[in-house]
């Protein structure tokens, strides 16, 4: 495609999306709008992933980390909110950077839901877990994230943030007028689940993180993977 043609193509696509969003907003169809938004928020990561030249090793590494994260979720499925998935995603992001963190997180969400059942929550989980990876990757070179305390605080706060974002998917569409009171009571209702997630993150980070980082760093330095362009 020529440059002009491509600009026209993407311009009209963007315009169509904006018009659609405005129509949905005006008519108060907040639920489809929220799905549109969450899709658009994840789109840049996937466009970049599709277009970058990547070695087969790098793709397979992301797939394997995603599989480990997804598998670790399945046996914990009966316990709501307790899973080492967030921990695995954080560790991958700390070693391999923000982009890998995002991909590992969102792919783990899709794949584990293939076993546990897709639903309207899938895009939200993709987003939340992706963001855990992305933020952990962005902060990985700071002193805060290098200390065990920092990692624990990070995991603890994401335990709550994850639940708070996940609450949105039904709150947005389902209440005729959203007030702070509705939000507050939903968050109070989910408090124990969020706390369980936060505490399980802290548990996994304080016990396993040192050895996980060692294993992942060893693979990274042995094969020299995913380093230069993502630093």
């Amino acid at each position: 495609m020529g440059k002009m043609k491509r600009m026209l193509y993407f311009g009209s696509l963007a315009a169509a999306i904006v018009v659609l969003a405005v129509v949905l907003w005006m008519d108060k169809y907040y639920m489809p709008l929220s799905f549109l938004m969450i899709g658009l928020a994840m789109l840049p990561f996937y466009i970049r992933f599709e277009r970058k030249t990547m070695k087969a090793e790098e793709i397979l590494l992301i797939a394997m980390l995603g599989a480990i994260a997804a598998v670790s979720r399945v046996p914990f499925a009966p316990l709501p909110s307790v899973q080492p998935t967030s921990f695995v995603i954080m560790m991958s992001a700390l070693v391999f950077g923000p982009e890998v963190g995002f991909l590992v997180g969102s792919i783990a969400a899709v794949v584990s839901n293939i076993f546990l059942g897709q639903g309207p929550w899938t895009p939200w989980q993709m987003f939340c877990w992706g963001m855990i990876g992305f933020t952990a990757g962005l902060l990985r070179n700071t002193r805060f994230m290098k200390s065990l305390w920092g990692k624990n605080i990070f995991g603890f706060s994401w335990g709550f943030l994850f639940g708070w974002i996940m609450n949105l998917w039904f709150l947005i569409g389902m209440y005729d007028h959203l007030s702070w009171k509705v939000f507050a009571s939903a968050y109070v209702a989910s408090f124990y689940f969020d706390l369980a997630h936060a505490l399980s993150n802290v548990f996994f980070i304080s016990i396993f993180s040192a050895i996980w980082l060692k294993i992942l760093l060893r693979v990274k330095s042995k094969y020299g993977l995913l380093d230069s362009e993502l630093a």
Partner: protein, 295 residues
């Protein structure tokens, strides 16, 4: 059972669920919601006899009931006041709104139960490949790793047991330390293996040209017929929806049901659309029961 609707072209199945889910989210007309609920439940029954439905329905009903009960408690919009609870007016409108949205959420959740039965991972990957080939590929590989990892986990645990490390009567702390060891062995092993798989892939020419899909779904005559039915009824659904034919007002005052010819037309189109898979599955079922051998 793989017959009827499940054998339709994946793009058509996906389009069906996309329209159905959007309709669940956007239409608040009570007649539409109730008919959609019936349609989805019958669809689930015709797909697998309601086994998947039975597993999830309890949780979904609880969510719907919570929404239904909590809406009038939080919202006191509406003109018809029925009574007061804790000095807050409870209105007929907010109860109706809660009921309609609980129903709509239930529809969405149950539609996803059917979606999971029809759109298998294989079809999902077929749909994704032309749009995002690398994403589809990475999901395929990740999916393949999941059974591999569980198999390896069993192997490692067998070795540990043979060596006498995983004694069932050992104390908890010891078992946990061994459990950690199992997991770390699994990770180191699998990551190394993944990289070897990658080298092997590269040696066989990964990334040289465009990849092709191993499963192909040609559009046959039945698919094309269903496609046109979906286009005609779907266009009616969308256009009618845009003009607000089936708009139902809850606030400020609950609207009574009004039947206009446009609404009838829209409703009939919607019903035909929703019941496409049920008709297809029903036809197969009838054929199976009534077919006579001509030998």
């Amino acid at each position: 059972m793989i017959h009827g609707f499940s054998t339709l072209h994946p793009r058509l199945c996906f389009a069906y669920f996309a329209v159905l889910l959007l309709a669940c989210m956007m239409y608040t007309h009570p007649v539409y919601s109730v008919l959609t609920l019936i349609g989805i439940v019958v669809l689930n029954l015709s797909l697998d006899g309601g086994r998947a439905l039975k597993k999830g329905i309890k949780g979904y009903l609880i969510i719907a009931i919570i929404i239904f009960v909590s809406n009038p408690l939080f919202s006191s919009r509406g003109a018809t006041i029925l009574g007061y609870v804790f000095d807050r007016p409870i209105t007929l409108e907010s109860i109706a709104y809660g009921a309609l949205f609980a129903l709509s959420l239930l529809n969405i959740l149950l539609a996803f139960v059917a979606y999971n039965l029809v759109i298998t991972p294989e079809k999902l990957l077929y749909l994704l490949t032309p749009i995002a080939p690398r994403t589809a590929f990475i999901i395929t590989v990740t999916l393949r790793f999941v059974p591999l990892l569980t198999r390896r986990l069993k192997q490692i645990m067998t070795v540990q047991r043979v060596l006498g490390y995983l004694h069932p009567r050992a104390n908890k702390r010891h078992l946990m330390r061994e459990g950690m060891e199992t997991l770390h062995t699994l990770i180191s092993w699998s990551l190394e293996e993944a990289l070897q798989t990658a080298s092997s892939m590269r040696a066989r020419g990964y990334g040289i040209g465009k990849r092709t899909s191993s499963v192909s779904y040609p559009m046959d005559r039945r698919d094309i017929l269903v496609f046109w039915i979906m286009v005609v009824t779907g266009a009616n659904i969308v256009i009618g929806g845009l003009f607000g034919v089936n708009r139902f007002q809850v606030y400020p005052r609950l609207q009574s049901l009004e039947w206009s010819p446009q609404l009838w037309l829209h409703l009939i189109c919607y019903l035909i659309f929703v019941f496409i898979p049920i008709v297809m599955n029903g036809k197969e079922e009838l054929l199976w029961r009534t077919i006579k051998s001509k030998m």
